[in-house]
Amino acid sequence: MTLTSSPPARTAAAPPTHRGARSRRNLRAWAYASPTAALVLVFFVVPVGLVVVMSGSDWPLLAGNRGVNLPDNYADVVDHRLFWPAIWFTLKYTVVATVLLIGLGLGLAFLVQEASRWRAFLRTTFLLPTALGLASASLLFYAMYSPQVGPIAPLLDRLGVTDGVVSPLGTPTGALWSTVILIVWRFAGFYMLLLLVGLQSIPGDVYEAARIDGASKGQIFRGITLPLLRPSLALSTIMCVTGSLLAFDQFYILTKGGPDSSTMTVVQLVYNLAFESKRNLGMAAALSVIVLVALVVINAAQLRALRGTDSDTRAARGTRAVAR
């Protein structure tokens, strides 16, 4: 919203007669913007173009470019035995992770939304894991799940979940849920914070009015909190879906895609095609393009849904902005 509400730059409103002054100003502005422009061009625009070219080229890892072979890479990728299982697993993981993270994030936000010293401590505690790198967190949980040194395997054995002290990463279901638990631990505080911002932007007098009208807690939650929280919920969902669809570090470190390729995500398959199984950058690029296009489509659809909900809440946010 801030993007559209930025005031027109007053300093630039130089009289149009001073053409020289104006173009000097443009030049200066471009000089300030040029580092950004150069970085975006060299490390974003060129790679986006190159990934499309590579996806249509015969490009082995070691031999380099051997010319156009469109559409062989795409056909090979779609026919790859792990293509559909990887997509299916990635979608399953995304749904599980998103539902759990948004649900828990919202629950945590409710727990800590009032101001008190204990709640401030809780917020810090829930946020602390988000400062860790995903790779560090994955290594940490890898040790926690280890039957040799970790506390989880003996605990699961004693609870009767597993038969003997074995790694929970050993079965496909166990590997999925073990990874989800790591992700929930690492990211729940992040979504708590995003949703907390949304919760606190709901003006108190709206609740007040509802309470005077005799609304129950459930009615207030369904009638006020949820609708007014929709933009925050939508933003959290977009971030969570995008992040989960691109899952890599956690599975690379915890499961290596195993057991038996059951936890192979799409981005892991990109890595696998490039460096492990095929050593074929063309196929890896083709899969990258498929992921890229799918993500842009999914993001555009989600953004449209977000914008649809935006107008309902603009009034509420306006009130808040004035109050501040």
Binding site: T2, T11, V40, L139, Q148
Partner: protein
């Protein structure tokens, strides 16, 4: 009496949230304690001590090499992100120039195309422009993927500065660069700290970009720690792994605790963007 009743009704809340706090803190505390505790199959078999940290210090090229690599990558990413987003944010906030909206939208579009899908072409492309297996190359790539957030953050920071402040400096004979350098930079300091903190955490912790783009002696710490797991004939040295996690985590936790306000502000401005 009412106080006692209120205390009792609050007890379940405190038990529940206290339990949650323990669950969230437990993995970090467990790792820190285990890393100095005796464990079979590690360098610390008897009694408490820093044997596992010695293993990490002497792992292959040595901890200092990997730490140095991490510092070069992180330093490049932080400096480049700060410079580009400060100048860029200033340009977007205070000037109108042809191509302004297009460039800003293009910068934000980086969010739509996450780097996971661009690492294959980046590998080839960096080789072409002479940044093969280069720490600076990794730092630049990480900086670019910080740019959407950083540019947005600096743009709104500059827009929040009263124009009078800048005009006074211009009247006093500063050029626009002088005004930026002497006056505005001070006013946008909170934004700079937030941007710098996020760039640091992202670059210091990143695993995937270096996995694709560098190897051997040029591995940063997270990559080296992941590869260290299977060093001795597939036998995993969990003690050394835990020590590595602690070394990686300490700077992040310290920065997080010291700069928590800026950390939270960064998320808030991101959330309000929607």
């Amino acid at each position: 009496m009412t106080r006692v009743v209120r205390g009792l009704t609050r007890t379940p809340f405190h038990v529940l949230t206290g339990g949650l706090a323990v669950i969230f803190l437990y993995p970090i505390l467990w790792t820190a304690i285990s890393s100095v505790s005796p464990q079979p199959g590690s360098a610390q078999v008897h009694g408490f001590g820093f044997g596992n940290y010695e293993t990490v210090v002497h792992y292959q090229a040595g901890l200092w090499t990997y730490l140095g690599n991490s510092l070069v990558i992180t330093g490049t990413a932080v400096v480049v992100t700060l410079l580009a987003s400060t100048f860029g944010g200033y340009a977007f906030a205070r000037f109108t120039f042809p191509g302004k909206d297009a460039l800003f939208l293009l910068t934000l579009a980086i969010l739509m195309v996450p780097y996971a899908t661009l690492l294959i072409p980046l590998m080839t492309w960096l080789k072409t422009i002479g940044l093969n297996n280069s720490l600076v190359g990794v730092g630049l790539v990480l900086a670019v993927f910080q740019l959407p957030f950083a540019t947005f953050m600096m743009r709104i920071s500059f827009e929040a500065v009263p124009r009078e402040l800048e005009e006074a400096a211009l009247v006093d004979g500063c050029g626009s660069f002088g005004a930026l350098h002497r006056v505005l930079l001070h006013a946008v300091k909170p934004g700079l700290i937030t941007v710098g903190l996020f760039a640091f955490l992202a670059a210091w912790n990143d695993f995937m970009v270096p996995l694709f783009l560098v190897g051997g002696e040029n591995q940063p710490l997270p990559l080296a720690m992941v590869n260290m797991r299977q060093q001795v004939m597939g036998v995993i040295d969990y003690g050394a792994t835990q020590a590595g996690v602690v070394i990686l985590t300490v700077p992040c936790v310290v920065l997080f605790l010291v700069l928590q306000r800026h950390y939270v502000n960064g998320f808030m401005s991101g959330a309000l963007k929607g």
